[in-house]
C-alpha cells in the first residue's frame, strides 16, 4: 500500500489546499521543466517572432499583393526579411562579422554581457524569492531605490578610489534591501499578499525618485530636468576590457553574486531553511523553522540583489540617475528568473540570452529596420511557453514525463 494511495483516499486531502502551496507547486513545476522544453520554447518563440517580422515587412506585403502572378517575389521578400533580421541579431549580439578589427568583431558580445549584468543581479533576487515561495513582482522598485541610494553616494560624496565604489555598491544593495523589507514584513506580520504590495511599491518608488530628483540635492547643476549629476569617477565601475568596451566590473560582481547565491542556497544553513520553507512550509515549521523570518530575509536578500541590478546602469553604463534608470529591468528580470528556472547558472545563461536579444536592438534597427520591440515579444513568448510545458510538448509532439501524466490525469 503506497503512501500516495493512502493520501488520495483521505477526503480531507481533496478539499481546497491553501493558495500558498499551489503557487509553490507551480513555482516548482516551472523550476523542474526540462531543458528540452526550454530549448523548444526558444525555437517556437523565434518562429513566431519571424512570422511577425514577415508580416511587418513592407516588401513582403507589397509582393504578397501580386502573390498569384509572381509567388517567387513573395518568398524571396520573406527570405530577405528573415535573413536580414536574424543576421542583424547575430551581428548585434554575438559577433560582428563586418568589423575590420578583432575588437570590433567581439564588441557585440561584450555589449551582450553588459546588458546581461543587471538582468543577472535582479534575476538572482527574483529566483531566490521564487524558490522560497514568494512572488516578488517588485524588482522594478527595488532596482530604482537601490540605484538612487547608490547613485547619491556616487555623485554626492567625495571619497577615495575603491572605498567610494564599495560604498556606492553597498548603497545600491541597501536601498533595494529596504524596498524588499517592506513587503516582507507586511507579509510576515500582516499576511499582506506580496504580489499586490510589491506592485504598489514599484510605483511608490517611481514617484519617490521623481520627487527626489526635483530637489536641489539630487539635481544636476544648471539643469532643470529631473536628472542627477554624473557619478564621480571614483564610484564608477572600472571597464574591465579597456575603454573601447562598455563591459564593466559590475559583470564580474554579478557572476560573483551568482556564485554567492548558489552557495547561499546550496551550502548555507540559511539557504537550507529558505528552500525548506519554500518547498513545504508546514514541514519546515514542524522542524522548528520560522516561516516569518524566512519570508522577511528572503525579501531583504532579493531586494538587495535587485538593488545591485540598479548599480549596473547608475555606476556602470548610464552613470547618472533618472527616474527611468530601471527601464523595464524589473519585469525583464522576472522572465530571466523563470527561464533560468530560478537556479543561478540558469539565470546567468538566461540573462545572457535576453541581454543578447536586447543588445541586438540597435543592429536590428539599423541593419534590418526593425524596432527593438520585437525582442520584448520574443522574450515574453519564451516565458509563456516554458511556463506551460504541456503546450510546448503538444506543439512539438514531445513525450511527457511520468510525473506530468499524473498531474494531467
Amino acid at each position: 500500500m503506497s503512501e500516495q494511495g493512502q493520501s488520495t483516499t483521505e477526503p480531507d486531502a481533496e478539499v481546497a489546499a491553501p493558495q500558498e502551496s499551489r503557487s509553490r507547486q507551480v513555482l516548482r513545476e516551472i523550476a523542474e521543466s526540462s531543458s528540452m522544453v526550454v530549448f523548444m520554447a526558444i525555437v517556437a518563440s523565434m518562429i513566431i517572432g519571424g512570422l511577425l517580422i514577415i508580416f511587418a515587412d513592407e516588401a513582403v506585403r507589397e509582393s504578397a499583393g501580386y502573390f498569384f502572378s509572381r509567388p517567387g517575389d513573395t518568398f524571396s521578400a520573406i527570405g530577405d526579411a528573415l535573413g536580414s533580421a536574424y543576421s542583424a541579431m547575430f551581428n548585434g549580439a554575438v559577433l560582428n562579422l563586418q568589423a575590420e578589427s578583432f575588437a570590433g568583431m567581439i564588441k557585440p558580445f561584450t555589449q551582450t554581457l553588459t546588458m546581461a549584468t543587471p538582468l543577472i543581479f535582479a534575476g538572482l533576487g527574483l529566483g531566490l524569492g521564487f524558490r522560497a515561495g514568494l512572488f516578488n513582482i517588485g524588482a522594478q522598485g527595488q532596482i530604482l531605490i537601490g540605484a538612487t541610494v547608490g547613485g547619491y553616494i556616487g555623485f554626492a560624496w567625495d571619497l577615495p578610489w575603491g572605498l567610494h565604489l564599495l560604498l556606492a555598491v553597498l548603497g545600491c544593495a541597501l536601498g533595494g534591501a529596504l524596498w524588499g523589507f517592506i513587503p516582507g514584513v507586511l507579509k510576515a506580520k500582516r499576511g499582506a499578499h506580496e504580489v499586490i504590495v510589491t506592485i504598489m511599491l514599484n510605483y511608490i518608488a517611481l514617484y519617490l525618485v521623481a520627487w527626489l530628483l526635483s530637489l536641489e540635492a539630487f539635481q544636476r547643476e544648471g539643469s532643470d530636468n529631473p536628472i542627477s549629476p554624473i557619478v564621480a569617477e571614483t564610484a564608477q565601475y572600472p571597464k574591465i576590457l579597456g575603454v573601447q568596451f562598455n563591459l564593466h566590473l559590475g559583470f564580474v560582481l554579478a557572476l560573483a553574486c551568482a556564485w554567492g547565491v548558489w552557495w547561499l542556497m546550496e551550502r548555507s544553513t540559511l539557504g537550507f531553511r529558505l528552500r525548506a520553507v519554500g518547498a513545504n512550509p508546514s514541514a519546515a515549521r514542524t522542524a522548528g523553522m520560522s516561516i516569518g523570518a524566512a519570508t522577511i530575509l528572503t525579501m531583504v536578500i532579493a531586494g538587495a540583489l535587485a538593488g545591485l541590478a540598479g548599480s549596473a546602469p547608475v555606476l556602470g553604463t548610464q552613470k547618472f540617475l533618472t527616474d527611468a534608470v530601471a527601464g523595464s529591468l524589473g519585469f525583464d528580470a522576472i522572465t530571466v528568473a523563470l527561464l533560468g528556472r530560478s537556479r543561478p547558472l540558469g539565470i546567468v545563461l538566461a540573462a545572457i540570452l535576453f541581454g543578447g536579444l536586447q543588445a541586438s536592438g540597435p543592429s536590428l534597427q539599423v541593419n534590418a529596420g526593425l524596432p527593438v520591440d520585437i525582442v520584448v515579444v520574443i522574450q515574453a513568448l519564451i516565458v509563456l511557453f516554458i511556463a506551460a510545458p504541456p503546450l510546448v510538448r503538444a506543439i512539438f509532439r514531445l513525450p511527457s514525463p511520468a510525473h506530468e501524466k499524473e498531474v494531467a490525469a
Partner: protein, 429 residues
C-alpha cells in the same frame, strides 16, 4: 503553570495574521484626519480665503464664484474626516463593516482640506471646481473599466494582473481599426475584441495549463507591450493612415447637462463615458442580483461547492475572464479614440495597475471600483490643479496616494480587503 495562560481560553492565536479586533483602520483614519486638522486647518492663516470657480462660461446658468474662508473650510473638512474615523471606530466596536463610501468620502474630505489650504490667500488664482471634477471623472474612466475587468475575473477566481495589457491592446486596436474605417466609433467596437483576446490567453493558461496566474498576467503585459510597440513602430509608422488621431464628440444630454456643477461633469461627455455608467450599473445588478452573478461568485468563493450543485467551474472562469478582458479592452479605447489621440507606445503607462488597486480598494464590487477609481481620478486631477496654482505639496506624493492606500488596505490597516476565497487556485477535480 502561569496565570496568563490559564485564564485566557478564548485568546486569539498569536500566529493569526489578522487581529480579531480591527481597530487599525479607524486609528489610522483618525490620525490622518488629526494631521489634516493641524496642518491644513489650523495651519491656514486666519483671514485668508480660497476662491472656487464653479461655473464655466459655457454653462447656461451662471453661478457666482465662491470665496470661502480658508481656515474655516479646511477645519470643517478635517472635522468631517475625523467624524468619519469615529464612525468607523464605532462600527468596528460593533464588529460591523463600513461601506465603501466611507473611505471615499473621507479621502475627498482630506483632499478638499488640502486643496483649500493650498489655495488659501492666492488671490491671483482660483480653484476650478468644475474643471477639477470633470477631469477627475475623465481620468477615472480607464481605471473604472480596468477595475471592473479585474472584479469580473477575480469574482470567478482568476487573478487578472493583465489589465494593463488588456487596456493597451484595446487602445491599440481601437486606433488601428478606427483609423482604417476612418471612424472612431468603429474603433470603439474593435477595442473589446483585443482585450478579450488577451483575456482568452490568460484563461487558457490559467484553466488548461494551470500556469500561475500572476506569471501569466505579468508576461501577457510584456507581450502586449512588445506587440503593440512593434506594430506601432513598423506598420503604423510606415502608414500614417493606420494611426490617426480620431475624436469622439461630446454628446450633451439635453436638460441634464445644464444642471449646475453636476451637469457639465456628468452629462456632457462622450459615448464611452455613458457606456461606463451603463456597464457599472449593469454589472452591479447582474453580479449581485442575477443568477449569473450568484453562480460566478460561488465559483470564485468555493468552486467545489459550485461543482457539487452542477455549475461548470472552469467554463464559468473562462467566460468571465474573456468578458473581463473585453471590458478592459473597451476601457483601452479611452486612451486613443475616446481622447482624440493617436496610439503611442506604452501609452497606458501603468493605469492597469492602478485599476488593480481600485479593484482591491473597491472590495471587488463594481460600485466600489467606481468609487475607488473616482477617488484615484480625483487625486490625479488634483495633482494637475495643484501644479497650476503652485502647490506646497510635491505632486509626486499625491501621485503615490492610490498605491499607498492600497498597501494600507491589503495589510488590513485601513478596512479589510478580502478577496474571493479561491482566487488564483486552479480548479482540478
Amino acid at each position: 503553570m502561569t496565570a496568563t495562560v490559564a485564564d485566557a481560553p478564548a485568546a486569539p492565536a498569536p500566529s493569526a495574521p489578522i487581529p480579531a479586533k480591527r481597530w487599525g483602520a479607524s486609528i489610522a483614519l483618525g490620525v490622518i484626519a488629526l494631521i489634516s486638522l493641524v496642518i491644513f486647518g489650523l495651519g491656514t492663516p486666519t483671514g485668508s480665503s480660497t476662491t472656487f470657480v464653479v461655473a464655466r462660461n459655457t454653462d447656461f446658468v451662471h453661478l457666482p464664484t465662491y470665496t470661502a474662508p480658508s481656515r474655516l473650510a479646511a477645519i470643517v473638512l478635517s472635522v468631517l474626516a475625523l467624524a468619519l474615523a469615529g464612525w468607523a471606530a464605532y462600527r468596528a466596536n460593533q464588529h460591523r463593516k463600513v461601506g465603501v463610501w466611507l473611505p471615499v468620502v473621507y479621502g475627498m474630505a482630506i483632499m478638499g482640506a488640502l486643496l483649500t489650504w493650498a489655495g488659501a490667500g492666492r488671490d491671483a488664482t482660483s480653484i476650478q471646481l468644475t474643471g477639477l471634477l470633470t477631469s477627475s471623472l475623465f481620468l477615472a474612466v480607464p481605471l473604472v473599466f480596468g477595475a471592473l475587468a479585474g472584479t469580473l475575473c477575480e469574482r470567478s477566481g482568476i487573478i487578472n494582473i493583465a489589465i494593463e495589457g488588456q487596456l493597451l491592446a484595446g487602445a491599440f486596436l481601437a486606433a488601428l481599426v478606427g483609423s482604417m474605417a476612418g471612424n472612431a466609433y468603429v474603433g470603439l467596437i474593435a477595442a473589446p475584441v483585443a482585450g478579450a483576446l488577451v483575456g482568452l490567453l490568460l484563461a487558457i493558461f490559467a484553466t488548461k495549463y494551470w500556469v500561475n496566474q500572476i506569471v501569466v498576467g505579468v508576461v501577457l503585459n510584456m507581450l502586449v507591450v512588445g506587440l503593440t510597440s512593434f506594430f506601432f513602430s513598423t506598420v503604423m509608422t510606415e502608414n500614417g493612415d493606420l494611426n490617426q488621431a480620431l475624436g469622439m464628440a461630446r454628446l450633451p444630454i439635453p436638460l441634464l447637462s445644464s444642471i449646475p456643477i453636476i451637469g457639465p461633469v456628468l452629462f456632457n461627455q462622450n459615448l464611452l463615458v455613458y457606456i461606463l455608467y451603463v456597464v457599472v450599473a449593469a454589472m452591479q445588478i447582474m453580479l449581485f442580483k442575477s443568477r449569473w452573478g450568484l453562480r460566478v461568485r460561488a465559483v470564485g468563493e468555493h468552486p467545489k461547492a459550485a461543482d457539487t450543485v452542477g455549475i461548470k467551474v472552469n467554463r464559468t472562469r473562462v467566460r468571465n475572464t474573456v468578458l473581463g478582458g473585453a471590458i478592459a479592452g473597451l476601457g483601452g479605447a479611452f486612451f486613443t479614440v475616446a481622447s482624440g489621440l493617436a496610439f503611442g507606445k506604452e501609452m497606458t503607462s501603468g493605469k492597469g495597475y492602478i485599476a488593480l488597486a481600485a479593484m482591491i480598494l473597491g472590495r471587488w464590487s463594481p460600485r466600489g471600483a467606481l468609487a475607488a477609481a473616482l477617488l484615484f481620478g480625483f487625486a490625479d486631477a488634483l495633482r494637475a490643479q495643484l501644479g497650476t496654482i503652485g502647490s506646497p505639496i510635491p505632486s509626486q506624493f499625491l501621485a503615490m496616494f492610490p498605491y499607498i492606500a492600497t498597501i494600507f488596505a491589503v495589510a488590513g490597516l485601513v478596512g479589510h480587503a478580502r478577496p474571493p476565497a479561491s482566487e488564483g487556485i486552479p480548479y482540478k477535480k
